[in-house]
């Protein structure tokens, strides 16, 4: 038995024990004696270069590839010997090429597993509409379309809906957002996180893109050559404390910049000492506010305390730009934007501060360059937690101080 089973966490949803896959005629096994625990309700990302065995390991979980030896335990049940078709009906499966059935409508595609499980027609059709709505496709418009009548991004949404159809506890996803343009891809990733916040599935997600892994994973398993897992830990820990030179090299340059994407602004305290003035204030009040301000700009807030613009201290008292909303606000960032977005906005507008708003769009405060620097060096919860790099449960991202991460919304 291995370390992993000795320290078995009670809430491990998937437990792989000493799993080996060897192909005849090959000296080295594709996967050799690998043990891994995947906690319930988390997204675990298998990341690594092509041919590192990450897809093989994923397919071992639903036995699309049969293991040579070892055990697979899902939700406490040893599934190594059970009927593979029945096993797979209980596990959601989505792949990069979507594999949608071209001769069946969107609704029929999504209904595949519920039909196999013998659901009633009404239950199936209600579920189809529910899922289409969840993935952002209007049921009335898309239900009866065929896959070829959908864009690549829409096909992926249907693929994810189909994988979720029978409400499986476990989902396996093999680069589901791989072959999609970057903008659609980001939208899909954000939606995926939003959906996962509600459904809390145990998800194994395979990608070769470390940025995607960092963005989506509660934990990341970095695969090295020969089916070896070089590091299995939270994204913070992988980025701040790579296990070895291989992991460091795989992360590539810019580990600190990547870490910026891990912290949503909702988890950041915004400074509230910036001088503001209500948009209802008249010219004299505005001039007075500028005089007393210790900054070069004063922020204008409307009646609902939404930031609307800036007043500059260099404006003469009779300048027209002193009235109205002032200079336009180049950017304000919501709770779902990250430190990365904040830094990017600063660089884009050549400012050293950005305005942060709450969920309702109201002013929450400001965030400065110095604050970001400080945050990235002090506020990484997993930094220095090196010894915890075993397969047991470690504090996930959502356990960090502050409010529970609301994830990202579609923009």
């Amino acid at each position: 038995m291995t370390d992993a089973s000795a320290t078995a966490a009670p809430d491990a949803m998937i437990r792989l024990e000493n799993l080996t896959k060897a192909y005849p005629g090959q000296a080295e096994p594709a996967i050799g004696g690998l043990s891994l625990e995947i906690p319930r309700g988390e997204i675990v990302v298998f990341v690594g270069p092509s041919g590192c065995g990450k897809t093989t390991l994923m397919k071992l979980i639903n036995r699309l590839i049969e293991p040579t030896s070892g055990r697979i335990v899902i939700d406490g049940q040893d599934v190594t010997e059970m009927n593979p078709d029945e096993l797979r009906r209980g596990i959601g499966y989505a792949i990069q090429q979507t594999g949608l059935f071209p001769h069946r409508t969107v609704a029929q595609n999504i209904a595949t597993v519920p039909r196999l499980l013998g659901w009633s027609a009404e239950k199936v059709s209600a579920r189809v509409d529910e899922l289409l709505t969840m993935v952002g496709l209007a049921p009335d418009t898309y239900r009866d379309r065929y896959p070829r009548q959908l864009s690549g991004g829409q096909q992926q949404r249907v693929g994810v809906a189909r994988a979720l159809a029978a409400d499986p506890e476990v989902m396996l996803m093999d680069e589901p957002f791989g072959a999609i343009d970057p903008i659609t891809r980001e939208a899909l990733q954000n939606e995926f996180l939003r959906i996962q916040r509600d459904i809390r599935k145990t998800i194994v997600f395979v990608t070769h893109d470390i940025d995607e892994a960092v963005k989506l994973g509660d934990r990341i398993a970095v695969f090295g050559p020969g089916g070896r897992i070089a590091q299995y830990d939270t994204p913070e820990a992988v980025l701040s404390d790579p296990a070895d030179d291989y992991v460091a090299e795989f992360i590539g340059s810019g580990a600190y910049v990547k870490r910026l994407t891990l912290t949503p602004l909702s988890r950041v305290a915004a400074a509230t000492d910036w001088p503001t003035v209500p948009s209802s204030a008249d010219r004299e009040e505005r001039v007075a506010a500028l005089r007393s301000a210790d900054r070069d700009f004063v922020l204008v807030l409307d009646g609902d305390r939404r930031p609307v613009g800036w007043l500059g201290r260099d404006l003469a008292p009779d300048d027209d730009r002193l009235t109205g909303n002032g200079l336009p606000l180049l950017s304000s960032l919501g709770p779902d934007d990250t430190l990365f977005d904040a830094l990017n906005a600063m660089l884009a507008s050549n400012a050293d501060v950005v305005v942060v708003t709450g969920e309702d769009g109201r002013y929450r405060g400001t965030l400065g360059m110095a604050a970001i620097q400080e945050l990235i060096h002090t506020a990484s919860p997993a930094a220095g937690a090196g010894p915890e790099r075993a397969a047991g449960p470690a504090p996930g991202r959502s356990d960090s101080p502050g409010t529970d991460s609301p994830g990202k919304e579609v923009r």
Partner: protein
């Protein structure tokens, strides 16, 4: 007396022989499908059996038809039996080949996702692979039909049924006044049947293929 006068006087026989011709071709086509499609399903995933089946069906097609009909007299006697047997052998290649090509042409990602969702091997074949291969299989049947409509004329040489009888009658009475008319009536019947069969297959393809597979 021109050709049309002759046809007007002979139309009852022409129609009866046309009916026989259709039945003969359908028998060959149905038998070839009943043998060929299962053979293709059984062998399309295995390299060696697939090559053997396709090679044998290919050899059948290369045997000169006059010779094959004649050779079959020894085991099967005269009449419909050797004719249907020979036609079945000729139709096998287009039926088997197109079924194999159609099944092998199904996107592997579609199969993988079907397996990943827990469809059994049999369910994948019935619900996914055969429907997706169907347009290609139909094309095979269409080609086979055109082929058989022509070759079926030879069955008259073994006392079989069909429009071949008009052609052989004409050929054997070469030099007599209406010899050419007889042969022409046989040929005309076959050409008309070929055109109708093509239309029928186009219609069948349209109604039996999923809208999701149509390229329009």
């Amino acid at each position: 007396m021109n050709f049309f006068d002759h046809l007007a006087g002979n139309y009852a026989e022409v129609l009866a022989l046309t009916g026989e011709h259709v039945v003969l071709v359908l028998q060959g086509l149905v038998l070839a499908s009943l043998i060929g499609i299962p053979l293709a399903v059984l062998t399309y995933r295995a390299e060696l059996p697939r090559s053997v089946v396709l090679a044998v069906a290919g050899v059948f097609l290369t045997i000169p038809s006059y010779a094959l009909f004649g050779l079959l007299i020894a085991p099967l006697g005269l009449g419909t039996a050797p004719a249907v047997t020979a036609l079945t052998m000729y139709a096998l290649l287009p039926v088997v080949r197109n079924t194999v090509v159609g099944l092998r042409g199904v996107d592997p990602a579609v199969i993988e996702s079907a397996r990943g969702m827990g469809l059994s091997r049999r369910q994948i074949l019935r619900q996914i692979e055969l429907p997706l291969a169907w347009p290609v299989i139909i094309t095979g049947l269409r080609v086979a039909t055109q082929l058989l409509l022509g070759i079926a004329a030879i069955s008259a040489a073994v006392n079989g049924p069909g429009l071949g009888n008009l052609i052989f009658q004409g050929l054997s009475s070469a030099g007599t006044p209406f010899a050419v008319y007889l042969a022409l009536e046989g040929i005309l019947g076959i050409v008309v049947l070929a055109v109708l069969a093509d239309l029928a297959f186009a219609a069948l393809n349209r109604v039996s293929t999923s809208r999701g597979l149509r390229v329009d």
